[in-house]
Symmetry: C2
Subunit: 559 residues, 2 copies
């Protein structure tokens, strides 16, 4: 016990200044980031070291304690054609939940400061493993190297820290120690009570990872639950296990060193052939679930796991409305990047581009719908004309079904830009596709009102700007959206777009023509999703994301 | 528009210091109250004035604008035998929801400071109406005068202010105005964005009032939703309309004076014969529901109103465990008051009293289970021996079904103290019942594992203290509890009880022998319910209660 106290106290001393800075940053919402996003911060040979560490995992069992494990699972195909061949312990759900539950009381007894400090230490160790995580993310998700490095490493770690920070703030909304309550009684002595509020976590939490952003989408739920006292079972997507397996291993190592039960974070890997998520998530011990993935399974979790708080990020139909611009080239360049990045496999990628049928005003005068559409298509085509550069933006298509969906989508409208395969210069097995852009009729709502996940976008002619906004608003309200964009030089249109986005509860980016893109958000500043439309029922990360993962239990006695 | 801005701005100037004090108090959680709980603060003739104002309502239509109303409803019986005979406009649900929805955008556009200041002004006006509200609460609920005054007036207003305060804090977790985000780009110029976070309320909120605490249980949801930008439809219990009708009228008056649409708060009264709650609450426009009442209807709302955030307070089986005491008389006196107050019709009243079958240690030596049970029964009996005093503690039984339940409960165990009717000295029609206390076998779980609402308590002999705690813990986890009590002189038992209550997520009061009672909580200090067991899915009031009633919508553009 002395040792445990010593280790946890040392981590509090080490990390509390960071937590205080992070809390101030979260409240200020300007630019703030703890983990460097330039490669050289990770050493001169970061790339080579990371690749070597990644390759050392290949074809071997991943060494990790999983309570009650018997046998192995693992069939990660590798989006760049590098088959991973890694096996992971096959979990026994009863044993996993029992071990997680047994770890809870001592973790609950730790202070919010201690739990937060342990979490920040885990993130610091994850940050050190960034080069290795980069290649794990890259090869499982198909993200190109630089994106896998940034989004899978420091940006994911920043989002994790953001969740720790909000969880810490939510717990420290009450005083940490005893409080004296003294109520005057006129001439009589006051009533005096000694009171204390204990944080009681909800129970075992489950994080269901996704195949495209296992760390970036996984860390917020993992750390939000852990910092608020809940043991966490991490169930990765069968095609993207390695990044979360490494993350779980790091978390267990830190927890044990700090004197806590490593079973506070457990890996529960499965395979597509034998999925375990339904069985796991419906267990009565599971009180919190974080999920990123399909609307079908997200809805299923919401409907069937009523014993748990369920936080879901699902599909949506992100949009951009183009009303007018004074930087047409900048707009085209900016949108070309957005549509190309990770071949449209971001939950924030624009799908629907609404344009008035009579065209738009630009700095070069009026441009017709067709001119705008052609310019956007040409912009994407030109941006991806050099294959060596193209693959570093596009990455690979994670799932063969996504590639098939692109092929099928050709028939959905008039092809403005066809999708093509690109040969990867140094990873010959990579499945690389360029964006497909289609003009579709506004009447074809069944086409653009569902998410066509992957590098597919629809350009839709509307009656006028008001009709663009009304249609976009309705699609977002009914089918969800995580991002919205607007190009307009007219203040009254900007105001109308803000109102539409307040109705649809979707974040809005206006007139992006430079180095900020509608599909990118910054931790500690932009919220990711609002939680107010069908694309997600929660936001990363605000107080609502953390405040209901634990409950306060007050204990009072005469003082 | 200038006028509106002026009125709202003036309210901000007037009330922001109060909000700041309230926020500091909520975080400190010591004693703090804004609204005086001594009668004389409301004038020398407060009681007479209040009664006169109440009686002026009787037998008349209550004047209130309700959109689309046609006809009237109203059949409040009056728990003290004073039939109210007041009618209220009969709402048209379509028109009510349309009017509430139309009021939303301008209210959303107001700042969090403005909304909070308007809410504090409403509470200030309600506070001035305390004498009238006292009699409205008294005669609808059956609370005795002093309780109706305190719990229905200042304590309810404090809880309302607490909800306003937390809602204001949750909204001000982000900066109010524009933020400049500036990301360094090495040697290149930084990326600069101007960002703003708008509060977007979820939509129309419904508050479903209860018959026993229409204001105390109604205000938190009402003000939590209103302060976060949501229009609120107030659907009172058909037997306790008047207190909420007055409250709605006051809110509408203040809203209109401040330049906002009074339809931000609408009364939707109904009758037992033609209830409207199911129809109202399942409408797609309804995005938030606050409910206090039966488990059956609370569960129905949770299951059937999936389009809404549903906050419920339902039934539970509150308990006290008696292990030992060094103030046996104080314990008996304290528990006698708890069991008697408002004849057990508080959601916080103790129902189950677990005592080791071999008895307990006291300052006078060992006392057997029977001695403890008899002493508690005698304590209650003695406390209520003077009818004039008894009725001022017991009040009246609100619902005839509760009185019938007491009669039926006699057969559930061995009668330790029988319930009797008491003649009210000056309200001859009052339905007054003293507590029924029964010894029941630990094996009779079906008896004590459901709430027997009203003045009925069960004394249950367990094997020992550990068994008492284990049984109490299990009943609270499975059937819910809002309050827990413990009497023990042994620190290790207190520690075990704290652990049990952390598991069951129920607030614990230890060794209450003086003027603080297990069934009473203080706003800004004690949380009411934890939201972590079947008795309630939310707590009054913490950040979790408010943070998900709105969403942040970020708008960013190049800076």
């Amino acid at each position: 016990m002395t040792m445990m106290f010593g280790a946890a106290a040392a981590l509090v001393a080490k990390h509390k200044p960071t937590l205080e800075k992070a809390a101030a940053a979260a409240q200020a919402r300007g630019y703030w980031s703890l983990y460097p996003e330039h490669l050289k911060a990770y050493g001169e040979t970061a790339r080579e070291d990371g690749e070597a560490a990644f390759r050392a995992h290949l074809g071997k069992p991943f060494a990790l304690d999983v309570p009650g494990a018997a046998g192995t699972v693992g069939d990660e195909a590798g989006a760049f054609g590098v088959e991973l061949g890694i096996t992971y312990p096959k979990p026994d759900i009863d044993a996993v939940l029992a071990a997680a539950g047994a770890a809870l009381p001592a973790w609950r007894r730790a202070s919010p400061d201690e739990r937060a400090a342990v979490c920040v230490e885990i993130l610091e160790r994850l940050n050190r493993r960034t080069p290795e995580l980069t290649f794990a993310v890259m090869h499982t998700t198909g993200q190109a190297f630089m994106m896998a490095f940034q989004a899978g490493g420091p940006h994911a770690q920043d989002r994790g820290l953001e969740a720790v920070t909000y969880g810490w703030m939510a717990q420290t909304q009450v005083p940490a120690g005893d409080v004296t309550w003294e109520k005057p009684q006129g001439k009589n002595p006051p009533l005096v009570m000694k009171k204390r509020w204990h944080v009681s976590p909800r129970g075992v939490a489950v994080v269901i990872g996704c195949a495209t952003f296992p760390t970036w989408n996984g860390y917020p739920g993992l750390f939000a639950s852990l910092v608020t006292g809940n043991p966490v079972v991490v169930k990765p997507h069968p095609q993207a296990v390695l990044p979360l397996a490494i993350s779980v291993a790091v978390a267990r190592e830190v927890l044990a060193e700090a004197g806590f039960d490593p079973n506070l974070v457990i890996l529960a890997a499965d395979s597509a052939a034998e999925p375990i998520a339904r069985d796991l998530c419906t267990r009565p011990q599971v009180k919190i679930i974080d999920f990123t993935g399909s609307t079908a399974f997200g809805d299923w979790l919401e409907d069937n796991c009523r014993q748990a708080q369920v936080y879901t990020e699902k599909a949506g139909v992100n949009f951009v409305v183009i009303d007018s611009t004074d930087d047409f080239k900048g707009m085209v360049r900016n949108m070309a990047f957005t549509l190309s990045l990770y071949s449209g496999q971001m939950c924030t990628t624009t799908q629907n581009i609404f344009i008035p049928k009579d065209g738009i005003d630009t700095e070069d005068g009026r441009k017709s719908f067709d001119e705008v559409a052609q310019a956007l298509a040409a912009g994407v085509d030109k941006f991806l004309s050099d294959p060596a550069r193209a693959v570093e933006v596009l990455g690979a298509v994670q799932n063969p079904a996504t590639a098939a969906r692109v092929d099928e989508a050709r028939g959905l409208g008039t092809v403005l830009l066809d999708s093509r395969s690109v040969d990867h210069p140094y990873l010959p097995g990579a499945r690389v596709r360029t964006p497909l852009m289609l003009a579709v009729d506004k009447a074809a709502a069944e086409t653009y009102c569902r998410e066509c996940f992957g590098p597919v976008s629809f350009l839709i002619a509307c009656d006028d700007t008001a009709d663009c906004l009304a249609t976009a608003r309705r699609t977002a309200m009914e089918h969800g959206a995580i991002t919205a964009g607007l190009y307009s030089t007219r203040p009254e249109v900007v105001e109308a777009a803000v109102e539409a986005c307040l109705d649809a509860q979707v974040a809005l980016s206006v007139n992006l023509t430079g180095g900020v893109f509608v599909n990118q958000t910054a931790a500690f500043s932009d919220f990711h999703a609002t939680g107010g439309n069908p694309a997600a029922n929660a936001s990363l990360t605000d107080l609502a994301f953390v405040a209901n993962r634990f409950r306060f239990v007050g204990v009072r006695m005469p003082g």
